[in-house]
């Protein structure tokens, strides 16, 4: 894939990168597709699609137990993805990488195992007002069961965490801080390093929801020192139905299993059950073999193009979009914090986001409208929802211009 890395002044060869995404080569409602819904899910490169095809065509088999050639090949490919994920987030051991169905399941796994074991009556869990429902609801469910308390770090009008309130909320009662790394609704990057340090000072653990950050930022869980890190493959150009839970070895070791079934056991008898070692203890049943294997291709693709180059490109797109959007009368961008990546979320005075979404779709432009599964944040900002454009490595400045022009026309029509 050397051709993807440009020898010219460009960060990378956009045309070559775009060519790798079949879905982008189409027209929607008579217009070339402009896909700006990347924070919801990214498109998949050919290498990922081919990995799925190759697996099902050549070596589909159930893993870990089989002694035949296909099973061995499938097992090796599946476990290779674990090694690549370990490198991708710089975990220290492959046993710290648990495959789940997505970031949501990763978070629920922690709530249902570590949480049920360690959260007791009166304990406090800290979350923020900008959490996705996935990192909100599991903790409320746990707190209700355990008579624990969920405390919420508020957000400023600029979309930044109120760190002064965080300092007041965190105490010896805090057992866990569950915090989003990058807000899906605004693109704001939270100071997780600082949060982790302060949480550890009071003996609390930290779970970082990396659903939005893992595709844009260099993730180093050892440097972050977070206790848990959760993300989804499908937001990193990989297949749907695969997620990752990173956990520190000692923590994962001490946690009870999550689901019972095959694979997660060492020995089963009528008298008792002994559980398998990490990471298999948390991977009951036949896993999503094909998609885990194809996820490897996605991570290799990202590594090949280069995360730094991708991030620089996306920042250029974001700056260009924010500048162009600011010329529209009555338009307000959410999250004016300077620490932002890849997402521009906005409201237009007197215009409902759903109407904007429908008219942009009519021009082949895919954006997301609504509350972005962050209703507490929408309530805090006193808006029903926003229009969100989110960028990926294959988007271009020209697409941003097409989007802004279409938006201007839509707003004129709707007002």
């Amino acid at each position: 894939m050397n051709s993807l890395v440009s020898v010219h002044n460009e960060l990378y060869d956009f045309a070559a990168v775009r060519q790798q995404f079949p879905v982008l080569q189409q027209q929607i409602k008579g217009h070339p597709l402009v896909y700006f819904d990347n924070a919801a899910t990214t498109q998949k490169p050919l290498s990922v699609i081919n990995a799925l095809l190759t697996y099902y065509s050549n070596y589909n088999a159930n893993i870990h137990r089989g002694i035949h050639s296909l099973a061995e090949q499938a097992t090796a490919a599946f476990e290779q993805t674990r090694d690549t994920v370990k490198q991708f987030i710089n975990a220290s051991e492959r046993e710290e990488i648990i495959f789940t169905s997505g970031a949501t399941e990763s978070i629920n796994l922690v709530a249902q195992t570590w949480g049920r074991q360690n959260i007791h009556e009166g304990d406090e869990i800290l979350v923020s007002e900008m959490e996705h429902h996935s990192n909100f609801v599991p903790w409320f469910m746990l707190a209700r069961e355990k008579k624990a308390v969920v405390k919420v770090i508020p957000v400023t009008e600029e979309g930044a965490l109120r760190m002064d309130v965080f300092d007041e909320l965190i105490s010896a009662k805090t057992k866990l801080v569950a915090i989003v790394h990058v807000s899906n609704a605004m693109g704001v990057v939270n100071p997780v390093e600082k949060i982790i340090r302060k949480a550890h000072e009071v003996g609390a653990l930290v779970l970082v929801d990396g659903a939005q950050s893992s595709v844009h930022l260099n993730i180093d869980v050892q440097m972050l020192e977070c206790d848990f890190f959760a993300f989804s493959a499908h937001k990193v150009y990989g297949p749907t139905g695969v997620g990752v839970l990173y956990g520190k070895h000692s923590l994962l070791q001490s946690m009870p299993p999550y689901k019972g079934g095959g694979e997660m056991i060492k020995e089963v008898s009528i008298d008792g059950i002994s559980y398998n070692d990490l990471p298999y203890k948390f991977e009951a049943g036949t896993p999503n073999i094909a998609d885990v294997i194809a996820f490897q291709a996605a991570l290799e693709f990202v590594n090949e193009v280069g995360k730094m180059a991708i991030c620089t490109h996306e920042t250029n797109l974001l700056k260009h979009a924010q500048q162009a959007l600011s010329t529209i009368d009555g338009l307000t961008i959410l999250g004016r914090s300077s620490e932002k990546i890849s997402v521009v979320s906005f409201v237009v005075e007197g215009v409902h986001p759903q109407d904007i979404g429908i008219l942009l779709d009519n021009k082949g432009i895919a954006v997301r409208t609504g509350h972005h599964c962050a209703q507490p944040l929408m309530k805090c900002l006193n808006i029903p929802g926003t229009t969100r454009a989110s960028f990926a490595m294959y988007n271009t400045l020209q697409e941003v211009d097409v989007f802004v022009e279409a938006l201007k026309k839509s707003v004129k029509l709707l007002r």
Partner: protein
């Protein structure tokens, strides 16, 4: 008393006027105009119980039973949805409960609304129709 046009007649008229449009741009412009022209619902229908649960926009739907016919009041905070309510009201308002219950509303498909709007949004459309039919059923049972 003036003869009230039947549901089928009104549907036919709407399909005919939509057939004059060359593009989806024009269809949307027309729907937006309808939405802007639709008067807001009387204040008493802006209560929580008159909301139709949709995914993204809020829809209010109220109805009265006058002289054997159902009169609808509808509104939304999104103007395209409001335009769609206006179309539904053109067809179903001032009809008898029985006719409303039996209405197939094939025009929505014929003008391309069901296809063109994504699943979530046409679900909203389906929810609105269902709510209107529920009103008709309630009035029928009462009378």
């Amino acid at each position: 008393m003036n003869k009230v046009a039947t549901i089928a007649d009104i549907e036919k008229d709407i399909v005919e006027s939509f057939s004059l449009f060359d593009s989806w741009d024009e269809k949307y412009e027309y729907i937006i105009e309808l939405g802007k022209k639709l008067p807001p619902v009387p204040e008493q229908y802006r209560e929580e119980i008159f909301k139709v649960k949709g995914c993204q926009s809020t829809v209010w739907l109220g109805a009265e039973y006058i002289g054997g016919r159902v009169v609808f009041y509808g509104d939304s905070d999104a103007v395209i949805v409001k335009g769609l309510i206006s179309l539904l009201m053109q067809v179903l308002s001032n009809q008898t409960p029985q006719d409303i219950i039996e209405a197939r509303l094939g025009f929505l498909g014929e003008i391309g609304m069901m296809n063109h709007l994504a699943q979530t949004r046409s679900n909203g459309l389906v929810a609105m129709v269902k709510q209107m039919k529920n009103y008709a059923l309630a009035f029928k049972l009462k009378s």
